[in-house]
Structures are given as C-alpha cells and as structure tokens.
C-alpha cells in the first residue's frame, strides 16, 4: 500500500499546499500520471504518481499544507512494485502529545514513517524556547538559534514570530503548521518586466476564509482588527515568502542607496539598429542591456556579486542575475545564470524564456535559485526612479526607471538637445560594501550603457 508523499521540489522546500486533487478516492492511478497540483513557496506544479493503483484515501485536503515527505494520499491494490517513499509524519508533536521519542523500527508491517524526531532532537533549544514553539506551533527546525552554540532561545522565537507576523502572545495554536522558511535564494525585489501582467495561471487556490474551514492550519493567525473588520485575503505561499524575505532583508540588511542618471541615446540607437529586421523573439530589450551591463560591471566589482556571512564576505564565482517579474499573484525573480559568459543575445533569449515560464506558472524552483544580484524594472509603468529591497542573501539590487525624453544641454555647450535619460538606483548591503564602491559600480554600468558597443563584444 504505497503512500503518496509531499515531494521535495527544491532543496529549500519545507512544505507544500495542495491546490487541487486531479484524482479522487476510488480512481485508478497509473504510474507517471499527474495526480495533484501543489503549491510551494515559489511555484505551483503538478505531481505525478510514482506507483500505480487505486487512490484509496486523500490525507491532505485541497487548501491544506503538509511538510515535505508527509503522506498526502494512499494508494492501494496497485502493482506498485516501487518501494514506498519514506513518509515522514508531521513532525512537531502538538502540545498535548507525549514527548517525541525516537521511534524504533516498527514491528507492524506498514511502512511506518522515518521519524524526523532524531532530527528534531539534535536541535539545540532552551526548554523555554521549546515550550513557546510548542504553544505557537512552530517547527524549531525553521528557527535560527542565536544563543551559545546556536541554541535557540526565547528571543529567537520572538523574532521568528515577529517575522511571521504573529503576536508572541500565547496563541491556542490548533495545529502546528510550520511557516515555510526557505533558507536563501529566489524571491524577488520589486518590480516587473515588460508588458502587462499576464493572467496568472496558478492562482494560489485561496483558502476558504469566511466559511468555517476544516482544520485548515492557518499559519499566521490574523488577529481580527478591533472594530469593523476588513476583508481578509488569506496569504498565498508566494505572498508569505515575499513578506518573510523582504522583512528579513529590511530588518537585517543595512541598505544604502545610490542613484545615477544614464544617457540612453546611444543604447537606444544601437538597439534599434540591431533589432531591425530580426524576428521578435530574437530582439533584445533595454532591460536585457541593463542586465548585460550589470554583468560586466559585477565582474569589475566582484564585491557586489557577493553575500555577507559571519565568517566573511562570500564572493560568488558566477554572476547570476535575477530579474523581477510581476505576476497577478505576486512576483517572482527567475535567475539568468552565468551572465558572465552570456552574450547580449543569450541573455535576451534566456530572459524571454524565463518570463514566459513565470507567466505560465511553469517555472520550477531551480530556476528561482542561485541569484547573486537582482535587476528590477518599473520603467514600463512610467516610474522614473525607485528603490528596491535587496533579496537575501544577495548584496545588491538595481532598480531601473523609465527612459525619459528630456531637453538637456549638449555636453558643455549652451545648446539644448533632446536626451533619453534613465535613472538607476542601486540598493547595496552596507555590511558588504560602501557608498563609494557602489558609486563606482554604477558609473561602470553607466559607461557600458552609454558606450553600448562594449555590450556586444563583452
């Protein structure tokens, strides 16, 4: 009787939400057939049966979340020769249950879970922190310990609750539902890329809010406002991830902002010339040029292609630029990897492919990981300049404004000409770099865009 478990769709995936079951109990399921849609922090994706049989039971209902490896459904009668994947039970013992002991090998024939208790047992946490975690339904594996030897202490729980947006006041915590915490990577700064937001094909199946829902674990109990309550829109996993990551960055990363104005006349002329006569899918955008210029500048200033660590500044060996893509359901930042080796055309093609996948809801978690720098562009909305929040653990993020056609003096003369100016604003982690270096970096980006032939040969 193989169990179907929540698959791990990325190294940092902690839990997934069942958006929709494609099979119902009693249905025959063939190996490889899609059986459900799940939503992770980052994507909505179909999962396939890894064994054939009859779907006998749906354990996790639509709209509910389950940790990775937890049983979400059961198959029976199948010829499923495949060994059942190790199924882990929902890890945290709710308040009342007995202390988790390391379950020894089960005597019963059923494929009993590999208890992650050992894992939980290795977590160093003070008794107080453990109690608070129990009371608030927090999975301690999600909490970073700041005490001696990495021990999780009360402060860490409070910080976690604050980041999760829950008041640290004792909550009843009906069922433990670990808020998804992805360690690093992915998730965006602000801003979309070109064109109007396409209809999001994966609207994070919102939990039924007003009607008394089944035991839906509400990860962040939204405390009711005092008087006339507004309409509460349940947080999608994407929204939760954005909230958590941006809060973390804003609270923990000391941001500095530097801006520079770029004359885009030459770049626009080059783009018009190079794109002329090319098929639309072969054309490159202004944003692609900005990404290419950033790649070149990051090679010259590796300190901005870096991450802050307790042991030191980690300079990344490759330049992977995340581009923020606005979606109806939020935003995501797919990553153009190895920009240091890509031509402008290669960057343009990859950006197009990623944006399309994002719009179609087909992006996979690995396409959202490994970014070392982010470019956000609100130019298409007419925004002239803005600032972005750095995506942890990156060290910097570039906010790109609209190109404006403005009258300006030509060089040092009194002659007024039309210029195409664009404002770039860099947000940088001040722990990693300083204003002067950020300024030099921006000047290099400016130089590359104002003498854009370099973008074609670099």
């Amino acid at each position: 009787m193989p169990d179907i478990t929540m698959p791990k769709m990325g190294f940092d995936m902690q839990e997934g939400t069942i958006v929709r079951w494609l099979k119902k109990p009693g249905d025959e399921v063939r190996r490889g057939e899609p059986i459900a849609e799940i939503e992770t922090d980052k994507v909505t994706i179909e999962i396939e049966a890894f064994a054939s049989g009859i779907l006998t039971e749906i354990v996790v209902q639509e709209g509910q979340s389950a940790p990775v490896n937890a049983v979400i459904a059961r198959l029976d009668g199948g010829n499923g020769a495949q060994a059942p994947a190790p199924a882990a039970p929902v890890a945290e013992a709710p308040a009342a249950s007995a202390p988790t002991t390391e379950a020894p090998a089960p005597a019963a024939p059923q494929p009993v879970a590999e208890t992650p208790a050992a894992d939980a047992g290795e977590i160093r946490a003070s008794p107080l922190a453990r109690r608070l975690a129990r009371e608030h339904g927090i999975d301690l594996r999600q909490v970073r310990g700041t005490g001696p030897g990495g021990r999780i202490v009360k402060e860490d729980i409070e910080a976690y609750l604050a980041a999760r947006g829950t008041s640290p006041a004792p909550a009843p915590a009906p069922a433990p539902s670990p808020a998804p915490v992805a360690p690093a990577q992915a998730a965006p700064a602000l801003a979309p890329t070109p064109a109007a937001p396409a209809p999001a094909p994966t609207p994070a199946a919102p939990l039924p809010a007003p009607v008394a829902p089944p035991p839906t674990p509400a990860p962040a109990p939204v405390s009711a406002p005092p008087a006339a309550a507004g309409v509460v829109t349940p947080l999608s996993n994407m929204r939760k991830t954005i909230a958590r990551r941006m809060l973390q960055s804003w609270q923990q990363f000391p941001h500095i902002f530097v801006s520079i104005e770029v004359d885009m006349g030459a770049a626009l002329a080059l783009r018009a010339q190079a794109n002329a006569g090319r098929a639309k899918e072969e054309q490159f955008s202004v944003n692609d040029m900005v990404v290419k210029a950033c790649a070149g500048a990051l090679l010259a200033f590796p300190n901005l292609n870096a991450s802050y660590g307790d042991e030191g500044i980690i300079r990344h060996p490759t330049v992977n630029i995340a581009i923020a893509v606005a979606l109806e359901s939020g935003l995501m930042a797919p990553v153009i990897t190895n920009c240091q080796d890509r031509s402008l055309g290669s960057i343009a093609r990859e950006a197009k492919r990623l944006v399309a996948l994002a719009r179609e809801g087909k992006i996979t978690p690995d396409l959202l990981q490994g970014g070392t720098f982010t470019v956000s562009n609100l130019g298409m909305y007419g925004i002239t300049e803005f600032t972005s929040i750095i995506t942890p653990p990156q060290a910097a993020s570039l906010a790109v404004g609209a190109i404006r056609r403005v009258p300006a003096f030509k060089d040092d003369s009194d002659e007024v000409v039309a210029k195409h100016l664009m404002m770039l604003t860099l947000s940088a982690d001040h722990r990693v770099t300083d204003g002067a270096e950020a300024a030099l970096f921006l000047n290099e980006v400016k130089r590359l865009l104002e003498q854009p032939l370099a973008l074609l040969v670099g």
Binding site: S126, P127, L128, A129, R131, G147, P148, R151, V153, K154
Partner: protein, 322 residues
C-alpha cells in the same frame, strides 16, 4: 529611620531578647572581652555573669549546655565565635538538637539559637570556611543567613522566639554594613525570601553577604542597560523558592551566587530547584559563582582569586545573558 550597622542591629535584637528572663547567652569571649566582633560588648555589665556566660574553648559543651537548657524551658543563645569551630559541636547539633523533637515524639522542643559567623580575610584554610550547606542539609534545624541590618535584627528576634533550634549565620565582613533599622521591636519571619532588587533581564539568587556584592554587580551592569533582579533567600532551611521562581519565570535566566564551594554546595540545591520547578521557563543554563575549589590560601592575592568577587558575578551574568 535610624541608619545603623549590622553589629548594632544584632545588639538591639539581643537587648530586646534579654527582656525575657529565660534568655541567656553562652560563648567564648562574649563577656569580659565583649565578644570578638563586639556584638555583646557591655552585656556582662548590664545583665551579669548568670546570663552572660563566658565559656571555655569547648564548642561541644557550649552547644550541649544550650540544648539541655532549651529542653527544660530556657531560651539559650549559644555563640560559636567562628563557624569553623562549630565542627566540634556537630554531634551535639546534628544528633541532638536537630532530632530531639522527632525522637521524643514531640514531647519537647529545643528552642535555642546558635549564632555564628562565616568570613575570611587572610585567616587561612581552617578559618575561612562556610558550612551553610552542612547545617541546611539537616532536617530538624532551621538555618538563617540574613543580609541587611533590618533583617538581622528582625530575624534574630524571630529565631529566638522560634520553638526549634535555629542556626543564625552572620558574616565577619558584614558587621559594619549599614541600613535603616527601626528602633522599635519587630520580627521578620523565618523561611521567607525577599526581592532585593527589581530587574527584568536576569535573576540572581543569593543570600547573606553575596546580596551586597550582587547589588554592586547589578549597578555595574545597569550602566549597560542590563537590569538584574536580585532575590535574597534569607533562610536556607526551610528554603522559600517562591520569590526566586517567580522572578525566574519572568527573566528566564538565573545566576546563583553563594560563598561556599560549588560542588554539592548550597548553590547546587538552589539551582536544582530552579531547574525542577522552572524547567519550562529556562532559556539558558543556570550559572553559579562560588569559592574556587581549593582550601582557602593565606596569601592575599591567592585568596582574592579564590573568593567570590563583584567582577566574577558580572562576568557570570554577562555569560548567562549571551
């Protein structure tokens, strides 16, 4: 309210107690010499040799006489000049004073007080010890070790009035400590701890002279914004942990400061009770600050390395808060 020394507070309590005809004092050098630390100076002249009894150097005899007298209705106060000499009276104290009430079916009690002092200052290994834990270990005894002049007076009065044998522990380095003490008569109940300082960050559980050192440590830490709460236990047996636990549940971190060796010492019992009853509130291991585990050196610099200092308390608090 008058501000007086511990010495004067104890003297006031004893004068008040002497109003009761059943009370007498027996000990070495308490009469003609006026006692080593001056507490009973002038008592012989005032109350006469019947009630102020200079004893030979025979601690077992001093305590034995007090026990016998208490059993027949007197309220004796035995003074053992230094707690180090009390070892000679342990059989009297442990096998007789502590057990008579239980072994004679409650027919009689032993309402005596044994006054004695802890202390050090180049007195070397055999004269610089604390035996608080030995006394506190023994069922049948009550053990009191106040810190302030106010408590010294009130608790000595309560000890004298108490129907059971009470070991009243003073400290040679505390006789000149000053504090407000009312002139009128009052008692402070035995077996009740008190909050000596309010704070929100960490709880120091201590008693006797260590209360004052902990206050100094707290003053230093306050400059860094660290608020230390100090609990003065005052009585070791029966041990009232309610104040300490209440504080610990608020601060979640504790340091226990006692002036004895750490191994199997009073701090072990105090910490154990915090762990036992405060487990779910524990956010860091409980630290202890005590004598270093060596016989007390005579050499001044080594002695200062051995005893509890303000600096060591500060360090322990910082470490526990880290």
């Amino acid at each position: 309210m008058p501000i007086i020394t511990v010495r004067e507070a104890l003297r006031q309590a004893l004068h008040e107690a002497m109003q009761d005809e059943r009370v007498f004092i027996i000990g070495e050098d308490i009469g003609h010499y006026g006692s080593t630390y001056g507490v009973t100076a002038g008592f012989l002249e005032k109350y006469g040799p019947e009630r102020i009894r200079d004893a030979p150097i025979a601690e077992s005899g001093i305590v034995g006489i007090a026990i016998g007298a208490a059993m027949v209705g007197m309220r004796p106060i035995a003074e053992i000049m230094s707690v180090n000499f009390s070892l000679l009276a342990f059989d009297m104290l442990f096998n007789h004073a502590a057990k008579i009430y239980a072994m004679f079916g409650g027919q009689m009690t032993v309402p005596m007080v044994l006054r004695t002092t802890n202390g050090w200052t180049q007195l070397s290994a055999t004269h610089s010890q604390s035996f608080d834990v030995y006394f506190a270990h023994m069922p049948g005894l009550k053990v009191v070790a106040p810190a302030t002049p106010y408590d010294m007076k009130g608790m000595l009065k309560a000890a004298i009035e108490d129907p059971d044998p009470v070991v009243f522990i003073e400290h040679t380095l505390m006789y000149t400590v000053k504090g407000e003490v009312p002139e009128e008569s009052y008692t402070v109940p035995l077996g009740k701890a008190r909050l000596a300082r309010e704070g929100r960050d960490i709880t120091v559980v201590t008693y006797s002279r260590m209360v004052h050192l902990s206050q100094q440590a707290a003053d230093i830490l306050a400059r860094d914004g660290i608020e230390v709460e100090i609990v003065d236990l005052r009585t070791l047996r029966p041990l009232d942990m309610s104040v300490a636990l209440e504080s610990f549940k608020k601060t979640n971190r504790a340091v226990v400061v006692t002036e004895d060796w750490q191994s199997f010492g009073t701090s072990a019992e105090i910490a154990a009770r915090l762990y036992e009853h405060g487990f779910d509130y524990l956010d860091a291991p409980i630290a202890r600050v005590n004598f270093r585990e060596v016989p007390m050196p005579y050499s001044r610099n080594l002695e200062l390395q051995t005893v509890v200092t303000v600096d060591r308390i500060v360090q322990a608090i910082r470490k526990t808060l880290s």
